[in-house]
C-alpha cells in the first residue's frame, strides 16, 4: 500500500497505514527523496506504528532512507516502533544506527524541535 506523505511546515510526515511490501518501502524512499527536494524540508518523520515486523530488509531500507535524506539535508525520525517489534529487532541483532527514533508522533516533533534549535546554536 502507498504511504501518504503530509507536508507540515518544514517537516514531512509519512504515516505507514498498513503492512508494507518491500516495493512499498522502496517507493516510500523514492517519494521522500523527491518531496524533500521539492519542499526543501528539514526533517522527515516516518510513523511505523502499524508495522507488524521490522526485519533485516526493513531495517536496511529505513537506514538507507535516513542516510539518503541526510545527504539531501533532512533529518529522519522513526516513530511508533511497537514494543514487541522492538523486542524482535533486538533479538535479531538489528539496530537503527544513525537514525533518530521517538516513541510517537508527538515525541518525534518534540525531538526535532530541540534537535534543530541545538543545531542552530552550534551553527553560530
Amino acid at each position: 500500500m502507498h504511504v501518504p506523505i503530509l507536508k507540515q511546515g518544514d517537516y514531512l510526515i509519512a504515516s505507514v497505514q498498513s503492512i508494507l511490501s518491500d516495493e512499498d518501502l522502496l517507493q516510500l524512499r523514492d517519494d521522500l527523496a523527491a518531496k524533500v527536494g521539492k519542499f526543501r524540508s528539514r526533517a522527515v518523520i516516518i510513523d511505523v506504528t502499524v508495522m507488524d515486523v521490522i526485519d533485516s530488509f526493513a531495517t536496511r531500507t529505513l537506514r538507507a532512507i535516513a542516510h539518503m535524506l541526510k545527504l539531501r539535508g533532512a533529518e529522519t525520525v522513526i516513530v511508533g516502533i511497537q514494543p514487541e517489534v522492538a523486542f524482535a529487532m533486538v533479538q535479531l541483532g538489528l539496530t537503527l544506527e544513525g537514525v533518530g527514533t521517538a516513541l510517537d508522533l508527538e515525541e518525534g516533533l518534540a525531538f526535532l524541535s530541540t534537535h534543530s534549535k541545538r543545531s542552530i546554536k552550534h551553527g553560530k
Binding site: 507488524d52 526485519d55 533485516s56 530488509f57 524482535a88 541483532g93
Partner: protein, 133 residues
C-alpha cells in the same frame, strides 16, 4: 500433521502472507503477543532468504508435539543453489551479497530449535521450532 499450511514463496508479497499465516497459527496454538511477533520475524527472515537467494520456494507451517510439549514448526524449503558453507552462513554479519548478514543467525536466536540441511545445486531446507512454555 493437523493445522499444516503451505505458503508458496515467489514474490515479496508472499513474505507478508507467510508472516500472517504464521501469526495466525501461533495465536491459535496459544503463543502470546511478543512471542507471536518473534515467530513472525523469524518467518520473515527465512522467507526473505528464499526470495533473495533461491528465487522461489515454500514455507510450511505446522503445529508440533514432543511428549507433552506443544509448539510451532516452520519449514522453509527451496530448490535454489544451496549453501556451500553453513557455519559461515550462520555467522552474524556474514552475507554473500550486501546484506546485513543477520537473517539466519537472527532467526536462530528467535526460535528454540533451528537446523539447516543444504545441498549444493539442489536446495536448502531450514527447519525451526518454538515451544509453548
Amino acid at each position: 500433521m493437523e493445522n499444516e499450511s503451505r505458503v508458496p514463496i515467489s514474490s515479496n508479497i508472499d513474505i507478508v502472507t507467510a508472516r500472517q499465516h504464521g501469526r495466525k497459527l501461533a495465536l491459535e496454538l496459544g503463543f502470546e503477543g511478543a512471542e507471536v511477533t518473534l515467530i513472525a520475524a523469524a518467518i520473515s527472515e527465512v522467507a526473505r532468504n528464499i526470495m533473495d537467494h533461491a528465487k522461489r520456494g515454500e514455507i510450511i507451517l505446522a503445529n508440533v508435539r514432543n511428549g507433552n510439549k506443544q509448539g510451532i514448526q516452520i519449514i522453509a524449503q527451496d530448490e535454489g543453489p544451496g549453501i556451500p558453507n553453513i557455519p559461515q552462513a550462520m555467522q552474524y554479519g556474514y552475507s554473500s551479497r550486501k546484506g546485513l548478514g543477520v537473517g539466519l543467525p537472527g532467526a536462530k536466536w528467535l526460535m528454540d530449535e533451528f537446523f539447516i540441511v543444504s545441498h549444493i545445486g539442489k536446495g536448502t531446507t531450514v527447519t525451526m521450532r518454538k515451544w509453548l512454555h
